[in-house]
Symmetry: C2
Subunit: 404 residues, 2 copies
């Protein structure tokens, strides 16, 4: 089945770069991206050749040591970051800790971290853990997204926000809020978990101070792929890393007894990087080499609008949870439905894979590199059938599994 | 060429479980273990099937969520740890931070971390970073290894030691020092980087409080494999994790706004685990399933003694840097040689891969699962020739590369 909007899609050819399972319409690339088709062979080469044959020599011979910087620079291109401002390392959670601790040191006289209750919880958890660890009177102010702007005062040390809300897809105006934060003397720290690879981001243009992001969502790096972090050039030599590991040392192989931070973004490295996982992410980024983030955004808007309009026309039981205005939305559409968990299980059973987020949100991510408008129509057909025939209303689908 | 000591070696059959490159005698398993032969196929399955076909469903269907605990329990068996006391996660450096921060909280009235100048530098760096971050008067006392015992006083909060010195192979008496630390009210925290998989460790028997260790040395988990950490059962529900990520939350998928630590060792998890790297480590541990750590130690001693005696007899220019007494040594033998860097380069050029550690140490690790006594003899033959003919004395070998 084809759809007229797919006829002149410059990204249509990219679908063959991915191993989309037969019979699956995958609307969960914002949880875990689809496997790029060339990654298995590349990883096999890394395992059997680079590790298997080169062994310890791989650190030199295959560029393992520089891989966090290399992958960082490849990601930088997708998020509007300057060269040598991004490093791929650790998990998003740990990168939140590193960035936030470094940022607080730059504003020693301010005690408030401002965030919002739409932030992904681990960002808030890491901030709480840091606040308690420091035990120096810092406070985490968590307000609703529409109260953020009004709460930017000259008491704020760091404004810590995720650009796109993981449940609703609501997207902040990064540039305007960063400017507002700076006008109050606060630093702006952005989590790009649902931004990087999803649409154009312009960290340098927005004058963001810090950012983190995820390797396994729109960047398709594989389950638990290494995350990344960004530090604006002007801050790089001012910050003191809180996690002072040997890979961030100025001379890692001198084996000095005292830590001395490395130059620039390198100091934000900590331990030995997981080369297998990082190599998979590196390979996965190849698919972005010849695409324009603007083309990705254009198609994302088209896919999202089609989905939104079709669902509203055919599935009246669902309540839109995402902003209607595409300008304040990422690359996902979410709806509220009381039996959302069961609905999503029923959808998955019929090959439409989205995500459920408690208490009642069904979430659909749109990844222009491997989705077509025909996929969107087919997904709505299936959801319409499930709702019309109440196929979600069974114990099989209502029984919760531990992880979804 | 065979050697009589290989005739009745119960571990000889294990060599075929590894992909040892042709023409290589690998004496660097204490830097990066050899690829277990079945890992490429297993990893291919994880990539193409688990990720490629199951996509997000892999978290349930393939046990990804429980993998850090599963791998942790497999490692626990090798280091004498109780069930559910070990989790595989993050890097060793980050685990040092997590454990040390948690340990200091248990001794709020004490300010001194005791360590030694033979510790791997990243352990000291992480302690320095934590000390500076906390800024509450903590001190890191770094003494020489033979001064540690005398410096255990009732001012010490935590004694942080690596059981086996990465340069010399000197091994502490974990049980005796832990007892001494406890008698002074201090906690004992052991880094098992050069212990786990190298010889029997008995964390529970020694009453160790905390431990960390490395996945890519004797455990053969691949370059930058996830590390592990251990928390004694009695401390698990007493400690407050400093890195409070969603995977350590009591209910990760409830998406609460407030952090609440998980039960037991689970709270020491932080972010989403790197499933590809963790699966490789998981698979690599298979080779330990049917071997006895006592057999590994017996063969390790035999390999090391043969190497030591042959080198001393045939390479008089080398000065032993390791303890002569095997009871206070791990599974490596190190020598000092002024032109150690060039010597190691010459050895590597002839297929004998060891390691150089500044300023003048050549280090040889012995991994009983894939080395034979014949390998040891051949390695000494080559080293004897290099030293006799001064083959190390060339610009080619003296020129330093960035990483070795």
């Amino acid at each position: 089945m084809s759809h007229p909007l797919d006829q002149n899609d410059p990204l249509a050819v990219k679908r063959q770069a991915f191993q989309v399972p037969d019979g699956v319409i995958y609307l969960d690339g914002n949880s875990l991206g689809v496997l790029p088709a060339h990654v298995p062979a590349r990883l096999q080469q890394v395992v059997a050749q680079e590790w298997g044959n080169s062994l310890i020599r791989g650190w030199n011979d295959h560029g393992w040591f520089d891989l966090p910087a290399k992958v960082g620079n490849r990601i930088a291109r997708l998020i509007g970051a300057e060269e040598n401002t991004v490093v791929a390392a650790d998990s998003t959670s740990i990168n939140v800790f590193k960035v936030l601790a470094a940022a607080l040191q730059l504003r020693p006289d301010r005690k408030i971290i401002l965030s919002d209750n739409g932030n992904f919880p681990t960002d808030l958890y890491m901030a709480q853990g840091l606040r308690d660890l420091l035990d120096r009177g810092h406070e985490l102010h968590v307000v609703s997204p529409d109260e953020v702007e009004a709460n930017i005062t000259d008491e704020i040390a760091v404004m810590m926000l995720t650009e796109v809300d993981y449940r609703t897809g609501r997207r902040y105006d990064m540039s305007a809020l960063t400017e507002k934060a700076h006008a109050s003397g606060a630093l702006a720290f952005w989590d790009l978990a649902h931004s990087a690879g999803a649409f154009p981001v312009d960290l340098a243009g927005a004058k963001a101070d810090f950012a983190v992001g995820c390797g396994y969502k729109y960047l398709n790096g594989g389950p638990g792929a290494p995350a990344f972090l960004y530090v604006a050039p002007k801050h790089q030599d001012q910050i003191t890393p809180p996690l002072t590991g040997w890979m961030g040392h100025d001379a890692p192989f001198a084996f000095d007894l005292d830590y001395r931070p490395g130059t620039g973004i390198d100091r934000m490295r900590v331990g030995t990087p997981p080369i297998l996982a990082l190599s998979a992410l590196d390979a996965a980024l190849d698919v972005f080499d010849d695409v324009s983030m603007n083309d990705i955004r254009t198609k994302s808007l088209s896919l999202c609008e089609l989905f939104l309009s079709e669902v509203e026309a055919r599935c009246p039981n669902l309540e839109l949870a995402s902003p209607r205005d595409p300008n304040v939305r990422g690359s996902q559409i979410s709806f509220r439905f009381k039996e959302g968990y069961a609905l999503m299980q029923a959808l998955i059973a019929k090959g439409v894979i989205g995500d459920f987020r408690a208490p009642d949100v069904v979430r659909f991510g749109f990844t222009p590199l491997y989705l077509s408008h025909a996929d969107v129509m087919r997904a709505v057909d299936i959801m319409e059938e499930i709702l019309r025939d109440r196929l979600w209303d069974s114990e099989e689908y209502k029984t919760r599994q531990k992880v979804t």
